[in-house]
């Protein structure tokens, strides 16, 4: 059997491939979000599950319709629209009405992604685009938070404030941070606080992120720079006036910081490609987040910080290129 058929592949090297595909990468990201989703459903019950399902189906459906209308192959199987759906849901309050969730899904896919040319071409994180559009357009629905009511506790969802929101209100009214807020950090870490579906459990998010580190889908640069700069800047303010400014630990475990630093700010498409660029991106996100939280109009600044840094990504990529092997630093 030494005959060779006409069907020989002919191409230039390399002739082997790692076997990694975009769909596999996306699937891994979806798996990594399972713990966070599970904790959210545990704390917020079926309403959170409903938001999750609506957001995923809304994103998949919108992407399919867009691609059909444009006469393009439908690529919802690659998993990227599903991720946008999950991330959008994690950025919504668990009590979001169904129309708000679906509207968010359409905004994320149409305005956040497809108008730019689909996967790989969008400058901004689609889920965050949707979140911010909703936050500005429907401030009441987007900031109606409920206290967690763990499954089986018999509690109903009760409207309450997020720790960050409570702090901001207190500081605006009294100029002082309420003491009881600072004491709850361990509970916040586990997820026992009011907030968006995905903001609640830092622990569950970190478990998922650990899996992504293991799969080498996440690199440490953006999360470390983001979290590190939040700690440094918020720590500075806290040292100056601990009665007014919350501690770095409070900053870390409340709001969307962990979700933002590990999942939203690490969206590959909308962040720099070089290690130094990623570090600068992360630092920018961290500083903007703290400034918005402490001095901005909104209690939470993670979304805005990431979107602003998304806008800076092309610039960062242009000016912070890696030093090519064999080229002396500073000699271009």
């Amino acid at each position: 059997m030494n005959e060779v058929s006409q069907q020989l592949y002919l191409s230039s090297s390399p002739h082997i491939h790692s076997g990694e595909t975009t769909a596999k990468v996306m699937r891994a990201v979806l798996y990594s979000l399972v713990p966070a989703c599970a904790v959210a459903v545990y704390f917020f019950g079926l309403s959170a599950l409903l938001v999750l399902l609506l957001a995923i189906l809304g994103c998949l459906g919108t992407e399919a319709v867009c691609q059909r209308l444009m006469g393009q192959p439908v690529t919802i199987a690659d998993g990227s629209a599903a991720i946008t759906g999950v991330l959008l849901a994690l950025n919504l309050p668990p009590t979001s009405p169904w129309w708000l969730t679906l509207l968010g899904a359409v905004i994320a896919i149409v305005i956040g992604k497809q108008v730019y040319g689909g996967l790989g071409s969008n400058p901004f994180n689609p889920a965050l685009v949707a979140r911010v559009v909703l936050l500005i357009s429907f401030p009441v629905q987007m900031t109606t938070w409920s206290a967690p009511a763990p499954l089986g506790s018999g509690l109903d969802l009760v409207t309450t404030a997020t720790p960050l929101g409570a702090w901001k209100n207190a500081v605006m009214l009294t100029g002082q941070a309420p003491v009881e807020l600072q004491g709850g950090t361990a509970q916040y870490f586990l997820g026992n606080m009011a907030g968006c579906i995905g903001e609640v459990s830092a622990l569950a998010l970190l478990i998922g992120a650990a899996y992504l580190f293991y799969r080498r889908i996440l690199t440490w640069h953006i999360p470390a720079a983001f979290v590190g700069s939040v700690v440094v800047l918020s720590g500075l303010f806290w040292l100056i006036n601990p009665a007014k400014y919350p501690s770095p630990i409070f900053h870390l475990v409340t709001g969307g910081l962990v979700l933002g630093a590990f999942y939203m700010a690490t969206d590959m498409v909308t962040t720099p490609v070089s290690p130094r660029g990623m570090l600068l991106f992360g630092v920018g996100c961290g500083l903007l987040t703290v400034l918005i939280r402490l001095f901005g109009g909104y209690p939470e600044g993670v979304s805005f910080a990431i979107l602003l840094m998304n806008a800076a990504t092309p610039l960062i990529d242009r000016y912070l290129r890696p030093r090519t092997f064999g080229v002396q630093a500073g000699k271009g």
Binding site: S5, H17, V25, G120
Partner: protein, 448 residues
């Protein structure tokens, strides 16, 4: 536990930044002793086998030639002569299919089966030879780099006086998956290699001599280290990572220095030779024997019996397949060299050359190309690039024929190792597109 421990030990080994970890697939042939490949019915000896000017034929059709006799003479300094791999009759001097993908001039020889050496080739006592005489013998023997690039060895042995060589590195890395030719050479013929090492050390008058071997060849490391004990030759175990054997990356791992962009190793006082090239240098100088044979790994899932074969230059690939028990399955791709940087062939009717370190036969399922998707900017190519380039950016510019921009992003520094294409989850043919971009940059430069 043991694997984890090895991994830990590996992390401390010398290496470069970036790179990838493809499965090494050396288990098919790493344990197999080198076998002499039987002489084929016909040898097709290409006159262009090296980087530089092709040789000029100096025999006529019908002429009887002896083993080791010159059949093509060198043209210019960066060129080497080509020799008859055995004794026999010249059947033709004409263009024949060549591994580079075109028909190129070759001397076709029908072996007479006697394998008689030319009487002109005489052994010499290297102790009585001057460095210049040694270099001349190496040139006459047609020794070229045997790692694949086939750059004439005598050129690397004659650095200009203003660029003295201080460190001499021998490349026993063999980082290409599947290939085991250098590994077997180090295990079975370390004396020849070390003889060549000593000769090159003498010629270049270097201070430091290093043999770099990837840590996946512990037997070779142990043997060579033992044989080098008490000599100034250092044996360094290098991390298993592709492209550890690329010249610039090997130099970086061993010396910590970087060959300047656009420069040569001699610019930082380094010369690198393959371990098999060292053995060829020893043959040339000590025995007066030219480079007419080499060890070639015939392997891959589509061949029945993988082997490490000592083959005559000019042996057709079809003969190698026969000697290895034929095909186990219909091949999807025929590759000369390794899977990362080898050359895909149109068929088995091309000859092995001095640079043929392996014949790799992959099945259809091994090479089934994935459809290309959009770049998701995952930056894996950036992390993998051993030259610290931005492959996806360069490729995007090259695709749009923006060669000035591609050049600005340092496309010309790409060593074409293929790590970027290997890791790309969107199966974008990054290095292939970058090659196209480099060609466009060079064409533009020539025009200007």
């Amino acid at each position: 536990m043991c694997a984890a421990h090895n991994r830990l030990a590996d992390m401390k080994r010398k290496t470069f930044a970036g790179g990838i970890h493809p499965p090494d697939n050396k288990q098919w042939s790493a344990h197999l002793a080198i076998e002499d490949c039987p002489l084929p019915a016909e040898l097709i000896v290409p006159l262009a086998q090296h980087i530089g000017a092709p040789s000029v034929p100096c025999v006529e059709v019908g002429q009887q030639v002896l083993k080791g006799q010159v059949v093509g003479s060198a043209k210019g300094f960066v060129s080497v002569p080509v020799h008859a791999p055995t004794s026999g009759e010249v059947l033709a001097v004409e263009k024949r299919p060549h591994p580079w993908g075109m028909a190129l001039p070759a001397v076709v020889i029908r072996p007479d089966g006697e394998d008689r050496w030319s009487p002109e080739l005489q052994p010499a006592d290297p102790g009585e030879l001057s460095p210049e005489q040694i270099v001349e013998k190496v040139r006459q023997a047609g020794v070229v780099g045997m790692g694949g690039a086939a750059f004439p060895a005598h050129v690397k042995m004659s650095p200009p006086p203003e660029k003295p060589i201080k460190t001499l590195i021998f490349n026993g890395v063999e980082c290409e998956p599947y290939l085991t030719a250098d590994h077997r050479m180090m295990l079975e013929e370390p004396e020849r290699i070390l003889q060549g090492v000593a000769l090159l050390q003498y010629v270049l008058g270097v201070e430091r001599v290093v043999i770099g071997i990837e840590a996946n060849k512990p037997d070779a490391i142990a043997l060579i280290s033992e044989m080098c004990a008490g000599t100034p030759v250092e044996v360094i175990s290098l991390e298993v990572k592709y492209p550890q054997g690329a010249e610039k990356q090997l130099i970086n791992a061993v010396t910590g220095r970087e060959v300047p962009s656009g420069g040569l190793p001699m610019d930082i006082g380094v010369a690198v030779h393959n371990v098999s090239t060292a053995a060829a240098v020893a043959d040339a100088v000590v025995h007066g024997r030219p480079l007419i044979e080499r060890v070639c790994t015939v392997t891959g899932p589509a061949i029945r019996e993988p082997k490490n074969l000592r083959i005559r230059i000019g042996t057709l690939l079809s003969h190698l397949v026969d000697v290895c028990g034929g095909l186990a399955e219909e091949p999807g791709k025929i590759i000369l060299g390794g899977p990362m940087m080898g050359f895909a062939q149109l068929g088995f009717d091309v000859p092995a050359t001095r640079g043929t370190s392996g014949l790799l036969l992959l099945r259809h399922e091994d090479v089934d190309p994935q459809p290309e998707g959009p770049c998701i900017r995952c930056a894996r190519c950036v992390q993998a690039c051993p030259m610290n380039l931005l492959p996806t950016t360069i490729a995007a510019y090259a695709r749009r024929s923006l060669s000035a921009e591609a050049a600005e992003y340092r496309a010309m520094d790409c060593i074409e190792c293929g790590s970027c294409s290997y890791v790309c989850p969107s199966s974008i043919p990054l290095v292939q597109v970058i090659r196209f971009g480099k060609a466009a940059i060079l064409a533009k430069k020539r025009k200007e």
